[in-house]
Structures are given as structure tokens and as C-alpha cells.
Amino acid sequence: MSVLVYIESPKGHIKKTGYEVASYAVQVAKTLGTDAIALFIGAANDAGSAGKYGVNKVLHANASENQEFDAQVYSKMIADIAKENGANIIILANTANGKALTGRLAIKMEAGSVSGTNSLPDVSNGFVITKSVYSGKAIVQYNITTQNKVLSVMGKYSSATNSSRKHYSSIIDNQYSSDKSESCRTKNI
């Protein structure tokens, strides 16, 4: 069992939210006494920098066919990589793309899912996390009852925290590629 965090890197750039979600994943992994694995898909300048935030391993699927975001393709890759690496918790940023992946991964992995969580899980009695609902007028506590879990995390919740670990140099690169043609072809961003 481990925690897999997908870090977005649009046009190769890793945004602050990417490191925030990595830090969150590391905290979840610590809570559960397991490892956090970072995953980049497509171009990602300095993917190894995720190591500074405490992840135990960095995977970079940088095959040429993986460069444009496609939720169908990416979700299949993430689910496959999670399975190969024994990850049963997937963590994503609560971005437009992150939310598009959350629902797909939940179905693929037969997982309970919560988008926009703003807390670390309380694992003392289940796997309880919170999120804002009613447009911020209330907070709900959800218990995810399935073995596999998919979370998208509010960026503001989790600050990017440098760990004592140095830049991660052992990147497993170009191990994965998509096997499905894109059905939604991006023309311009």
C-alpha cells in the first residue's frame, strides 16, 4: 500500500499547487505509515524537485504521446501505474484537470472519491476527511469506505513544505506510455 500523487506540469512547468499536493501526499503517507510516490506525465522540467518535498520515489512518464492532457488516457495511465506500484490512494490537485481525473479514477479503481478536500484524513475510525460544501457555508465530514481512495486537494489547504531530503535524483523515466488515441484533441491553450 502506498500513496500516489499525480503532479500537473502544464507545458513542462511545475506550479506551486504541484508541490502543495506533493506535500499533502507525503503527510497522508506518513499518517498511514507508508510511502508517497510522485508521478509526472508529459513534459516536466525538474521533476526530481518533488523529492525536496518528501516523496520517496518520482515516476516520470514522458513518452512523446503523453504530452497533451487527455483525461481518458491519463486516468488509465495513473490507474495502471498505481496498480503496478501498489498504491491504493491517489491524490490530485483540485484543478479543472484534477477534477476530471478524480471521477474517472474512482470508476476505474472502484474507489470512493472526494473532490476538494481540505484536511488530512482522520484514520482513527475509518478514513474521514472534510471538505467545504454549500459554497463554503458548511463543512462536511466524509468517510470513504472503499479500499481504494481518490482525493483531489484544495491548493490553499496544504502549503508546500520542504523536507530535509535533497533533490531527488533517481527518476524512473519513460517507463509508461498511453495506448489509446486521443478523442479530445487540443488545438490551442
Partner: protein
Amino acid sequence: MNLLVCISKTPDTTSKISFKSNDTEYNSDGITFIMNPYDEWYALVRAIELVEQSGGSVTVINVGPATNDIIIRKALAIGANDAVRVDTDAADSYTVAANIAAFAKTKTFDSIFLGKETIDYNGSEVGAMVAEILDLPYVSYVSKLDVNGNTFQVTRDIEGGVEVCDVHGAMVLSAAKGLAEQRIPNMKGIMMAKSKPLDVISPMHVATRVETKKFVLPAGKSGVKLIDQENMDELVRLLHEEAKVI
């Protein structure tokens, strides 16, 4: 073009939020419910516009109890052709998605539209789940949509800009602000809606994957913090550690 539009019932945006049953259920006493604005204003209206341009029909689907019929009738009054209600409580996103997908499999729809999120649970998960179950492309946060033959030309909102893409064939689309303009049902539409078909179907029973444990109201807003102009370090620390904006 036959389109399926998924609609939800939500409390009106100005509703007071409170809970009952040991804070495990929303207290709906005295609350006015509406059709989720993203479903109504953008997904439903754009679907109706496309059908008005090229022919076909718009079917609306809701997963919920009979008390939801009021918003379904409103959708029919705005211009949907027929409606389906899956007669079960929407226990979690997966329950809703599984039932919508099960119905969609029994018909032939050219695409499925829904709002980008509901304004109560703010989940934004159902569209992607439906797309995955049906093995269709999912395009979220769509703010512009044109059709050219069998190709949807889509503009979707992403962080810091928009993405323009082409989708060939059927898809699931979540609608964002700008996709269409709200329509107010006229008297003719309201009268016609009463005779349009609203089928109530039995649910597909699925095990819920996420349980609601409790609702809590957020702590009241604290007062403004005044920082001495000579104490810039403290200001920076608060902006970084508490406000998390730098």
C-alpha cells in the same frame, strides 16, 4: 441530435444552511429548492439551443425522490422534450453517476450535458464518472460549444486561460458560465410542460462508497488583524502561514 441533460435539485443560493438529526442531514424546513444553476442556465439551455438549430430532442434526467418533480417540470417548461426521474435518494456521486449511465445505455444519445458542479455539494465528479462508465470523452468547464457535423468544437476553462479542443462523436460535457444565457419559462412553456412525459424508473442499486458522517458550520469570521507598520516580518509571516497567499 438527441441530448441527455442531467439536472439536480439544490437549495436556493440565499438559503440559510442548518442541519438536523445530529448534524447528519440538511435541514430543508422552509427552504426553497431550485434547479442547480449550472445545470439549468448553461447545460440545459445550450442543449435546447442546439436542438432548436439542428433538430432532435432533449431529455432531462434527475436522480432523486418525487419531491424533485418540481424542478423537472421547470426543465420541461424551459424547453426539454421529455424527462426521466430515477426514483432513489442521491446518496453519493457514484450512486448518481451509475444510475445516469445505466439509463443512458438503454438509449442512444449524441452527448450528455450537465453543470460543472452542484452548488450544494460542489463535487464536480458525476460527469467524469458517467463518462468513464460509458467510455466517452469528458470535457469539463465548457464555456463555448459549437457543432460542425460530427465534431464538437469546445472551449473549456482551465487555470489561467482557456483550452480549445475538438471532440469527434459523443461526449460528456460539464457546462460553465458563458455557455448559454438563462431562459425564463414563458406561460406557453409552463402549460406544455404539464403534458410532457416524465417517466419514473426504478434505480440500479449500488453500494455507496462515501458516507456522510457529519456537517459542521464554519467558525465565525475573526476580526481584522491590524499589524503595526513597523512590523513587516509579522505581516509576511501571517500572509504566508495563515492566509497562505504568499
